[in-house]
């Protein structure tokens, strides 16, 4: 099963991962902020992840690691 982890403290909340995700399960968490003061990206449904790594490929800040 695919597993996506976010180094949340590096995230700048740009949302490029959000538009890259074909399953629409990577979203920007509007209800909290990280240390930098941005809304970080999170995954809403880990089980639905197909491990395509599109989110990680689109991330400019090396936030995302994908395992399968």
């Amino acid at each position: 099963m695919a597993k996506v982890t976010f180094r949340e403290e590096r995230c700048k909340g740009c949302g490029l991962c959000e538009i890259a995700c074909p399953k629409k399960i990577v979203v920007i968490a509007k209800d909290r902020i990280n240390q930098k003061g941005y809304h970080p990206a999170i995954i809403t449904d880990q089980d639905a992840c197909i491990g395509c790594a599109f989110c990680a490929t689109s991330c400019p800040d090396l936030v995302i690691t994908v395992e399968k």
Partner: protein, 248 residues
């Protein structure tokens, strides 16, 4: 099994780039290619002036910070004195296409065996969004608030097209990093540019269309759309010159 993890080609220093700036993606592609080709330990990055001035903090190899626009000249010296090292420059459009035009054209004309990564975002990023030589006709910037008037300030410089006319240049390609497919294509192009250097084939330049959400005044997502709709019309993607096939 890890499908995607951070490459060893980059240090763990967090990028100073604005949210949504695609510099980070291009840094990563270059670093991944260096690692995959096994040349990381003998690579020398030549940092430019502009937003990418701190790229020496991020690439996990030796680096030299060149004077504004002079990265290809510094790279020439580094490569000629240490021909076994892999030397590449990482320059923006304000650096390469404005103050550094002469160095770029002449490095290409001499067919220096170096790799140039040219990041084109059609604006001066670091200095605050002034009009660049690559700004599009009618593009609004800090110094062209009514849009770039081509009758007054001329037309954008198309670096890839221009350098494809230089006899010495070996490989010229323009790519973009606005979606996953294009990011993968960009990586292929960058890999080819470095392979050319390893094979001693000569001057390779990869122009990468990039976004500048902050100075374009758009969200990161809208910036990608603007790149797709406007940048690509003026700057079509593709291979402009390839002398590696032996058909020229």
């Amino acid at each position: 099994m890890e499908v995607f993890k951070k490459t060893n080609g980059l240090t763990d220093a967090p990028f100073h780039y604005c949210p949504g700036c695609t510099h980070g993606i291009i840094h990563r592609l270059v670093a991944e290619v260096l690692e995959e080709l096994g040349v990381l330990d003998r690579s020398i990055a030549i940092a430019s002036v502009g937003c990418s001035v701190f790229s020496y903090n991020y690439f996990n190899c030796d680096a030299i910070q060149a004077a504004h626009g002079r990265a290809p000249a510094v790279a020439t010296g580094a490569k000629r004195s240490m021909p076994d090292n892999i030397v590449f420059t990482y320059q923006g459009d304000g650096d390469l296409a404005a103050i550094g035009t002469a160095e770029t054209v002449h490095a290409a004309a001499r067919n220096e065996n170096i790799t140039v990564i040219f990041v084109n975002n059609a604006i001066y990023g670091m200095t605050g969004g002034q009009m660049a030589p690559t700004s599009l006709p009618n593009q609004v910037t800090q110094t062209s608030p009514y849009g770039r008037d081509v009758t007054l300030v001329g037309y954008p410089i198309k670096v890839s097209e221009m350098l494809s006319q230089v006899e010495g240049a070996t490989y010229i390609e323009r790519v973009a990093v606005d979606n996953v497919k294009n990011i993968k294509n960009a990586k292929k192009a960058i890999k080819k540019a470095f392979q050319n250097q390893i094979d001693k084939k000569g001057f390779s330049l990869i122009e990468v269309l990039s976004t500048c959400p902050t100075n374009w005044g758009k969200s990161p997502k809208d910036s990608l759309l603007w790149l797709e709709e406007n940048m690509k019309k003026n700057y079509p993607l593709g291979v402009f010159k390839d002398r590696t096939k032996g058909d020229e």
